[in-house]
Symmetry: D2
Subunit: 455 residues, 4 copies
């Protein structure tokens, strides 16, 4: 008989700093970060994680902590976990590691989360040219539901998931990451596809010893400097999974990860109580500390059997996953469209990112008519269970993206109707999120057609 | 009492050419194309449409018709329909036109459809650099289900929708379209965000009198040449809706269109029996002739009340819509990820189009292991009810797109499992789609990591 | 290549009487009713049906037609259809007939339906002791939606299905039916389990030549009198399927019928635009004329392989079916409970019928607080897509039944909230259904606790 | 700011006996059982519960504990909880108590459950005449999923819910319960509607001091004997909610309970990891210890505003509830039908209980063809998320009940197909549940048609 209670593999105390934890988390990817725990296939084990910034953000009504967040100190990951089979043979490069997410939740005693946008000069967000200030909303959880004193009038069931989960890269894969991201940064904005449309900067985050935490690797030891200088940042998703921020990696989901190093060295963190497709505000899910109960299997040789690499090397692969049967069911949706014409009226060619930006902007303007501030809606669309779709990607020159929002999360009917949105006493205003000043000098994107209206 | 049977407003005979129809369709957008019919708000009326190419594609086993399709002759739209209220006052610019799609279906006696990819030198598709040949699959309908002799082993419930529906542009809006699209074409590939990654050409389709059909406008009359020379092509979705190819505009859906000209002048066509998000193969839904049963309402002044323009003018708006309660329900999904690194390994900055291309390529390679050709899967992913999501759009430098495919549409279990995909006698091959040769000279994108494998 | 358009197998004209139809329907079950059509497995064919009473009910505002309906003249079934395989071998007793319901809909030109309760002395209904009068509501269809001038303020998507579909009985099975139903009638109310609780009478409908219509059997021929004297009535569902009134036998569903006679002799009718579980008002779905597009397969020997008879003979079997993926999706439900204590306060033992009666009564009383008459809600709960569940069937002495109603079908919020249901100007009354007088002498069931209130 | 962590209101230790718990549970209903805790409306609080038999059943492979279970010692309920509003005013008779089930789960460290059937002479079950032996299956939980070593080859997502939750009865209501249940017992089997069809005995469980546990009421005090002699047993659901065993009272659900005593005195227990509609095997859900996180509101005067009593007194009411958005989604179902003809072939009149018994029997016989024992399927249908529907309740003389089973819970395809169910090496047998002998003398119901087959 297997044990009937999840094995408590990694514990975290959300009241302590990352470096005070018993099994120290890590915030970089590198093959030489040593495993802190080991599991066998078929074990049901429990991993606790701290929030992605390691406690930098507080449950209060000021956005100063968001404004001054230190992004070199993230994401704090629990692991690596070494996986072996029942015979004790570890996962091997070329295998697939099957990770079943059996249960997920906030850490008991720490049932809250935050959503924010970063200051434009310190990370930004999808719409940072429109919303350059740092903002914050705090969420409390009533079991499956989240609500916020900063965005009253909405409540929704969370689709809890790890924003970040993945296997360790091999040295070769790490080299590929560092090379291609450095090339992007060095080429600069002018060489990017979207440099003039999206304004989150830097273009990529290169290895940075400052703020690095390497788990069980001895900070005083001989390897630390080398590893910290090479280790990849955790911000983007990559071939190993990583920070994919896929909201459907939720309870009951099964993920198939490629294995690049012996033991697979699985790490995870950045738990989200809920997130919208795209996580548009960047610090954009309901970020929390949390736990995962997990089972692993190994498909020997599965990487070659199932994943066809596409690119210069055999390492250019992608994970895949199966969605579980327990998503929240909403039946009525309001959907906003966007096409790949930017805010200046300029036509882009089949650019889904531009199209999605337009859909999100349209949704914000629309919903703000119901008593919310635009900043509230921006955060809401980042963390509620909305769906972002690539609806049309072939009809030159316009990509069409859509953003679908479940109507039932609002305590009022937000559908269009004769007579227009509520006005006068029917319009209930609803406070605001916490906001900091933007002290930088970059220009805010202006809605040109509204300028004339001001005259 | 209202009449209890839909008013047969516009009839089409799929066996006749577009110009032989009683109420002639049109294949360009222009405010001067005269209405062919008029309805009152609250009427339930029925509009028939012919397939988007007006009968150029045949139910046979050759892709030659796809290869040589004349794209100046599309999309054939039924309408315009002038909408007035119960007092006889027509819709006015600034109103919202509410269009409820009460019922949709194929034309009786013509229950079939086609999916294809165009030749790279005649339209291409999302993956035309990988699949430059014209291909075709024919689908027959068993009521709600579609199946194809060219892609045996799959069957799915359709989510019937009009690929194209929208209101007529005003002269000002038309001018905006023509200006911005011309600017794109004139700037050329080098100035585009995605010119080096997507290879569908031309970048945009500018007004073109050749092939133009202008409905009830007299081809011998004085206005024809001017209108045909100015009228916008129907390929992209725009501020008026148009060819948005949104698969969820299905039975029970309610769309809110901005009104730009008196009467709204609603047109529609390009009926799809089913489509996947993105419609990746371009001729990519299950294209068919079909009918729509529709009800309209007018929200007076609703455009200003509900839609905030974003851009240089007040006309830069977007439609929105509500999804109905009758989508096919699938509960198990296999999901593929893509990041914004292209096939050469080059890093792009938050480009969702690149990321989605990678997700689609990964899905094709994966599913082809189950006895299908890659061309079959390419067409299948274009027309089955798969979902394309913008999962992460803020984690520099990688956008993450996902493609979710319902498992139940296959007659075999396509999930990964120990032992790998079927081989030997367990692997059932399943014919192929109709294929033409690609006679052009543009290079096919090579999967570099597989080249070495050939040596 | 198979034909791509459904074979028009049986046509019906809803404007003509049953006996004026080209292929005459039948309204009794008997093995000697000859097939009127033949199909081959794999054919997609179309069957039209007239409404179950054969046109006795009119689209008007009087319930007199319902009150005086002749129940010896129902249900009018299209068929029998003889099914053979590709080699021409007909279905054999012991096979399973697989019937896929590919598409369903109202008859074009006849898009309306009716819901009613019968007079207590002429058929009654589940709550006939509370509602003895005949009532009627007329429904019109906007594509997938139904709405009624007699029950304003509700609108819902239909789940179209045949109330009645089944294979012909063998002589042995017919004998079993007639014997057991006659035994029930002869034993009388006192011998029944529920005689004192349910008041629909007679207890069963025995063979009755009056009103009988036997399809292609010559009314002047020698067999007619014998067959009409033996043939089973169509009211109940039985081993052959029949009038099961299962609302989920809808588009995309696959039913497995036992075959009792050579050729299977499949018949169908009683099309419903929508129905609630239980069809409580008896004439209780949205009754309409309609069409079915169907495909058949034969599982040779499947009856023995898959169905275990339970009872005195090998013929005591039950059909089974698979639900399709296209049900309307509602996500929010209001649920009423009932236990097996009757209206007098008497305790019954695990009686789900009593419990369901209580749940339905509770739902009627509740919803009537929102401006509807109880008669309107009674008809609504009979025909909207509500779900009746056997929640608990073991906790002596109470069975618990629940009735779940989708909230989104109402144009007001019917959930409980502080302050109570609408009163004064907020309470909108909504007319009534058509009602006839009850001229009989049977006592209406009194809600005893409300009597005192009247004093 | 409200506290962000649930208030730990009632704690239970599943390793201790009921009488060793700090806040003692109770296993009877009586107005004089004193509250053990108090909450304010709006509080989020956590209640732990022990399993319904208070630890009588063990995690082993013998059914002896089930066979000899003491049913006078159940269900152990946590509470009563007194509810007051923010001003300190307690809930009053005539109010509605709104209970939101925010989160539910097994008790940490005790993640297992059991399903069983009782011996026919000690409680029985819905099919006890077919399955008189006590049986047991043990389930372990992998997060949202349950699986059992006693029923290999199935795994499903749980819909966790309290089988039993309700408010305390007033003295008048308690009297009504005791009177009507005593009348049933005294009238005896012959007077029941279903005495000859269902064989669970006794017909009802009358007050019984033996085994009674009355929470905080002093067992040595003067009131104990009186209260224990009057207090109602917890087996059935009643006007106060109670043991309704409604599987949809799950996460996110909101229940509206009538209040009969000051403070409402809410109690709960009998947590189920999963249950099928009907809970047919009686000890039939996956029974476990568990926790609930709950919020209460009071609707003042809501009982009169929203609940219409039906019966001799104003106390004859029923709770209602709203279903939450987080049910497991299954899209493919296999459905079995039953009509109200019993196993002897006798016709009953519109009896849904008989019809459901036939549907369950049909499902057991069918699924047992796939390598399971009938006992395994009986337990499975009692605890997996299957749906029992009252499909037709008006078509004399047959009620039609249906039982829908989600196909995806099996690791094999259980749909009918050509060639029949697996045989020979394709048929995988799967052990059995734990079974005890039935030592009683009551006759097992024989499937008459199979007897002849033995000759």
């Amino acid at each position: 008989m297997p044990p009937r209670t999840p094995i408590p593999l990694i514990k975290m105390d959300p009241k302590k700093a990352p470096w005070e934890q018993e099994l120290k988390p890590h915030n970089r990817w590198h093959p030489d970060i040593p495993p802190v725990a080991e599991v066998q296939t078929g074990d049901l084990f429990r991993v606790e994680t701290i929030d992605w910034t390691g406690g930098q953000i507080r449950d209060d009504d000021s956005a100063e902590d968001i404004k001054h967040v230190d992004l070199t100190r993230c994401h704090y990951l629990s692991g690596p976990i070494r996986v072996k089979d029942a015979e004790g043979v570890p996962a091997q490069p070329g295998d697939l590691l099957v990770v079943e997410l059996c249960n997920l939740g906030p850490l008991p005693g720490d049932e809250w989360g935050y959503t924010g946008t970063f200051d434009r000069d310190n990370g930004g967000g999808f719409l940072t040219d429109h919303f350059p200030e740092a903002t914050k909303a705090i969420w409390y959880f009533d079991g499956i539901y989240a609500s916020s004193r900063h965005i009253p009038g909405v409540r929704f069931a969370g689709l809890i998931h790890p924003g970040l989960i993945g296997t360790a890269p091999s040295p070769e894969l790490l080299q590929i990451w560092n090379d291609r991201e450095r090339a992007l940064v060095e080429a600069g904005e002018g060489a990017t596809t979207l440099g003039g449309v999206l304004h989150t900067r830097p273009l990529a985050l290169l290895p940075e010893p400052k703020g690095a935490m390497l788990g069980a690797l001895d900070p005083e030891g001989p390897a630390w400097s080398r590893v910290a200088g090479e280790a990849a940042r955790t911000i983007p998703g990559r071939e190993n999974g990583g920070n994919c921020d896929i909201k459907n990696l939720s309870r009951g989901c099964k993920v198939y990860f490629p294995v690049f190093v012996e033991g697979a060295n699985l790490s995870m963190g950045d738990m989200h109580f809920s997130q919208g497709d795209g996580e548009v505000s960047f610090c954009g899910a309901i970020e929390m500390s949390g736990f995962l109960e997990i089972k692993c299997e190994i498909l020997r040789g599965g990487m070659e059997q199932y994943l066809t690499p596409m690119g210069p090397t055999k390492l250019h692969v992608q994970p895949l996953f199966e969605i579980g049967p327990l998503e929240p069911r909403y039946s009525e949706w309001l959907v906003f469209e966007g096409i790949s014409v930017d805010e200046t009226g300029k036509q882009h060619y089949l650019d889904a990112t531009v199209a999605y930006k337009r859909a999100v902007l349209a949704a914000i303007d629309y919903l703000a008519k119901f008593g919310y501030t635009k900043r509230q809606i921006y955060l809401l669309l980042s963390c509620c269970p909305c769906e972002g779709r690539l609806s049309g990607i072939v009809d030159v020159p316009n990509a069409v993206a859509t953003l679908a929002i479940p109507i039932a999360i609002f305590d009022q009917d937000v559908r269009p109707k004769a007579g227009g949105p509520p006005v006068g006493p029917r319009l209930i205003t609803r406070g605001d999120v916490a906001v900091s000043t933007y002290d930088g000098t970059k220009p805010r994107t202006i809605n040109m057609c509204m300028c004339g209206a001001a005259h």
